[in-house]
Subunit: 376 residues, 2 copies
């Protein structure tokens, strides 16, 4: 087993664990910065390691496949060598992007045919070739090809979509088990639970995914517009079925409060573009609440960006300076806000883990969740 | 005297010196990265200090005046505190930007009335208030308000423009001498030689500027489209008149070869947006020549960006990766290319200085100038 639970919280379903990869051990719960095209936008790899202190980052198969192309990454000897990153990497399967980003797409018995949003070229992703592509990219954790069901969507539509994901699951799993990693270190393959916001379908899907018996399991198709309470309800349903001894990865979620709530429901891994994308637009997450740095009130506020923050940007740069940079559209504004927000997310995970280990998680979380949503 | 010449080259007019400021000693010849709005685009202040190893950066009075506004910088306690930079800073006077960037401008007996390119508001710069503004910004070296004559421009037009700059010089000098710095450290004020590409006017202007007897002198109005040989000729004319014991700053120049040629003609200080702006577009300056990283030939070149380079980005990132980032429009591409190019410029200055000190400058420069312009 690559995953070990060190402690389970007595008051909630939260767990503190560690997932071992050949590119380092990943303490859980963990947040994974999104490195779409092989770069976490605006952040040097050295800063990801030393300032954000991130043990794992995410890459998007769809983006990497289109640019620079799988041949280039293969020639480089895999994603770690290509981007100069010795921490762990997880790649998604491209399913989400094929259905949300590509200019047109068509389902065939084989898989999904789609038109690139970059240059209009046509491509096909299948459950099998998405394994092959991720073998070439060489992430430590790779994902099954799935269809991410939109919201809202009626029961029939969600069921049909889920059944497609399940049929793809078997084909992908077979290809995964028949093939070997290319670069001398193992790759774990995670299947993905779908089922929209219908508890009965989520139960069916979680059962199916649990049966695949892989190193870990993912929950997809949430945080796509549905009310938060519905998302939490689905997480509870799914986590009641997914095996407790394996890591659970909630894809694409979310705000700091969403993440703490999900940890308390037994989720271990997260990714989201929010800290970087919202950071570029001037939204900062802090221990005391959310800052919109463009607001006039910060114009002459020369206090540190985050007096409690433990990254150097928090202490060295002032709110007034960051406001000026963001308003002026300066690259450095995006760089500082991204570093701050990512470090905040990682700090939140470290803190959550510490509280789980020492038994204070439930009360700490309650206090944090109410603070984290305050608008400063 | 704040400037000391340590050695003058016997074969050329090159000099190695040091200019003392309260924010550190600046070895000359020096290149000053351009930090337009209080940030060198794409580069953290910590990286400017530790990776680029830049003792001084430049800010633009025009940009800082419009955004964040002089009140904010004053409230922060000056530019160093505002941007968190303990090295030296030089600000230009805004003259160049008023005449090149603002949406409309009108000369009055007072100065220049112009419309902001950002929000259309009207403002007036005068030789006097440009001193006051730069007192509030608080750079270590501040510049006289001048009119930068365009090229081409006939003799009459250049003479009229130069005479305006000279009348402004006297008014600015008076204001400078009547006022005190605001933050407890001295500010040197440099007047600017104009005169276009007419040797007789350049002689007149250099004589006038030398008579002002300030800490240093600048040469403006070059590298605005005229042939390089004409620029070098004007530098020779001017430097024959400007006092040898004071630093000479050639504004807005240029390519690595331009800078070496100008050093050999007795220039000590330089600034230019080229390393950052061209870097963002994928042009890299190296010891072996110029790289257009977007070129197909680098697609599968996994060798370091600059095998001879001494910044970490040169060694850690490959040409193929940087190419991918720049082509994909990723922020990290701009960040890496800017760090590389700036460090290259600073390295070139350190190297030139070392060669001047040990008497090898002339032969080294000849070899470098021919290499630096090769297209790789």
């Amino acid at each position: 087993m690559r995953f070990k639970i060190l402690h389970s919280d007595s008051e909630t379903k939260a767990r503190a664990g560690v997932f071992d990869t050949d590119h380092g051990s990943i303490p859980t719960p963990i947040f994974m910065p999104v490195g779409t095209t092989g770069t976490v936008k605006g952040v040097h790899q050295a800063d990801l390691k030393n300032v954000v202190r991130s043990p794992i980052i995410l890459g998007n198969t769809y983006h990497l496949f289109l640019r620079p192309g799988i041949d280039v990454i293969g020639n480089a000897g895999g994603i770690h060598r290509f981007i100069h990153w010795d921490g762990a990497v997880l790649t998604d399967s491209g399913g989400y992007q094929v259905f949300s980003l590509s200019e047109q797409r068509k389902l065939t018995p084989e898989g999904a045919v789609f038109r690139s949003h970059i240059d209009g070229t046509m491509h096909t992703f299948t459950p099998e070739n998405v394994v092959d592509i991720q073998r070439t990219i060489g992430a430590d954790i790779i994902m099954a090809f799935d269809e991410c069901t939109p919201w809202p969507c009626d029961h029939d539509c969600v069921r049909t979509s889920m059944e497609l994901t399940h049929s793809w699951l078997e084909r992908g799993r077979k290809r995964y088990l028949e093939t070997e990693p290319l670069y001398g270190y193992p790759q774990s393959w995670f299947p993905i639970v779908q089922g929209g916001t219908y508890a009965d379908l989520r139960r069916q899907s979680a059962t199916k995914i649990a049966e695949a018996d892989m190193d870990g399991n993912a929950i997809g198709g949430l945080s796509v517009g549905e009310p938060e309470e519905l998302m939490y309800e689905m997480i509870e349903v799914v986590n009641g079925i997914l095996p407790a001894e394996k890591p659970r990865y909630l894809m694409g979620v979310g705000t700091p409060a969403n993440i703490l709530e999900s940890i308390s429901r037994g989720v271990d891994m997260f990714d989201c573009v929010m800290p970087t994308r919202n950071g570029r637009n001037g939204q900062l997450f802090t221990r005391e609440g959310i800052i919109n740095i463009k607001n006039e009130k910060w114009k002459n506020d020369f206090s540190p960006i985050d007096p409690e923050g433990d990254s150097y940007v928090d202490q060295q740069y002032s709110k007034a300076y960051l406001r000026h940079l963001i308003i002026s559209g300066e690259l450095l504004g995006a760089q500082i806000a991204s570093l701050h927000n990512l470090r905040f997310y990682l700090w939140l995970m470290e803190e959550a883990r510490g509280r789980i280990l020492n038994g204070e998680f439930a009360s700490w979380m309650k206090e944090m969740v109410s603070k984290l949503s305050i608008r400063l």
